[in-house]
Symmetry: C2
Subunit: 325 residues, 2 copies
């Protein structure tokens, strides 16, 4: 397995990892009875955990070894080094994240934070984040509620584009584009789904799929893993829970991705010049992309997205769902 | 329906076109008995056509009207203006493109060329290209062989990235990155699938999916619709046909997209500064992405692609298939 850089689009592709190894489903690897190879984190405690983080049994990347950046003629490659962990969100086999209490969701977010902060101590990793594939249509590996922590030796393409756009915007206006977005959405109201404390959940103006939702803080901060007061952590957990309970009424599958800044403690490598100077202009946020039963034409026309539903309509519908919570 | 620009990634999204209208399947709209609303092109002739181009019965874009670029606070939008046509590749209901003769495939490519050239006369359109979704897994609308012509008021995101990368590469090395890729692939041999005349079919170094194939010419040219001698047209048609016959042995579904330069006859709009100066550094090519039955983890990790099979292995396998043609 290795990482290869597309010389045209400059994105890294993981190639040659072979067919996905079969992940045993029965008995459930994520249930408390199952003994993981290693416990990376247990909250609140090892004996009586509500959230447990373990290495992924079939990792996409290998944790050991050097990055091994090398040229192959005009091409660039590196070894498939990275971290891939699973966050077991609850000991209960049949409870989805959306149905955990606010405190329990808070622990899941705390696990994200601690693992990301820990992985960023490793100077090989340029990026670390959390993501979640919920439901079969999102290619979830288990039915037991879990999310994933991934650390990579490169900054993923979409995050790079976001960083560049945020930097360009800041240079021109001396304001954060994400802060401006939150302000405009709150003023316009029509795409806002829900708020709690400083956090706002809304359907973005150029939503790529129906019912796409972003969760942002009104307070500017480039990295998710920054310490935040207890009250704000509770607000975020409560808003995330409510948003997921709304979304599960329109789809039982979604991708959730935390977008946070690159590893600013690393000071080497080809893209350092970008993110060393621009991480401050970034603004962490959560993106949730529901997968609707009806196939969209999204990927047909080379990455032009087609979204059948106006975000205003999506937000309106999601807001109405509140009464059903 | 309108086009909205994502302020973060700068890509345009078509939103609010409502649920896809149902396309009548029976009787087949693409068969010769069916009378299309309008024939935009018929080859070799209207009376005895082998290839016919008509407006798409359920178009993604509307052909009439002004682009109507406007701001909505910090956001940008425009009307959903564009062209959407179907290229009926054969009068025969059950013959896939791969099973047409080289001459017939040549007519399909000729139809692409003429329609793209014609649409580029319309100064509203910044981009025009051809694409094909083959098979149910690729969300093909009909079983009757067809492809699509699409003209848009913006340059699609991936093409923009390609243009920028080609420009950067050229500025640094004074060589076309695509020309360099073809040279390196031919020298290395291991990812080359097939060649014919000046055309080379190969699995790209950083293939996003197993058995991804690109077809490029060794001769530098930025636009597909440039006139080319009869012999070269035959070579391209023959190579495309053979490549599709190889690919249909690994998958019955694929996306095929022609990547050609933007409309360089248009001299206005936000991105003019890019492509006016850089179209010359571009190099048209065809990208084919087969859809394999086994779901890949491609879109889970925010646009990091995971490709289970090395392109060398894909090319090797595809080359072996030659004997089965």
């Amino acid at each position: 397995m290795e990482l290869r850089k597309d010389p045209i689009t400059r994105s890294w592709v993981v190639v040659g990892h072979g067919e996905d190894a079969t992940i045993p489903i029965e008995p459930c690897l994520l249930c408390p009875d199952s003994k993981p190879s290693q416990t990376l984190l247990a909250l609140p405690s090892d004996d009586d955990w509500k959230v447990r983080v373990t290495p992924h049994p079939v990792p996409l990347y290998r944790i050991e070894g050097d990055v091994g950046r090398a040229a192959e003629g005009i091409y660039d490659k590196m070894r498939g080094v990275g971290a891939h962990e699973i966050v077991i969100e609850t000991p209960h086999h049949n409870r989805p994240l959306s149905r955990l209490s606010d405190d329990e969701i808070g622990l899941v977010l705390e696990a994200y934070k601690r693992r990301i902060a820990d992985l960023k101590l490793d100077s090989r990793f340029k990026y670390a984040t959390a993501l979640k594939n919920q439901g079969q249509a999102a290619a979830a590996d288990w039915t037991h509620a879990y999310s994933e922590i991934v650390a990579t030796t490169f900054v993923p393409r979409r995050v790079l584009y976001e960083l560049r756009a945020a930097k360009t915007y800041f240079e021109e206006k001396e304001r954060c584009v994400f802060c401006d977005i939150v302000r405009q959405e709150e003023r316009a109201e029509k795409r806002v789904v829900d708020t709690q404390g400083d956090y706002v959940a809304f359907c973005p103006y150029a939503s790529r799929v129906p019912f796409e939702v972003w969760i942002l803080s009104r307070k500017h901060n480039f990295q998710f893993e920054s310490p935040r007061p207890e009250a704000r952590r509770k607000h975020l957990a409560a808003l995330l829970g409510r948003t997921l309970r709304r979304l599960e009424q329109v789809s039982d599958a979604y991708h959730l991705v935390l977008h946070t800044s690159p590893n600013t403690s690393v000071h080497s490598g080809e893209i350092t010049e970008y993110w060393k100077t621009i991480a401050d202009d970034y603004h962490w946020h959560i993106e949730i992309m529901p997968i609707l039963p009806k196939g969209s034409r999204s990927y047909a026309l080379k990455e032009v997205y087609f979204n059948a539903v106006l975000p205003e309509e999506s937000a309106k519908y999601l807001r109405i769902l509140e009464s059903a919570l």
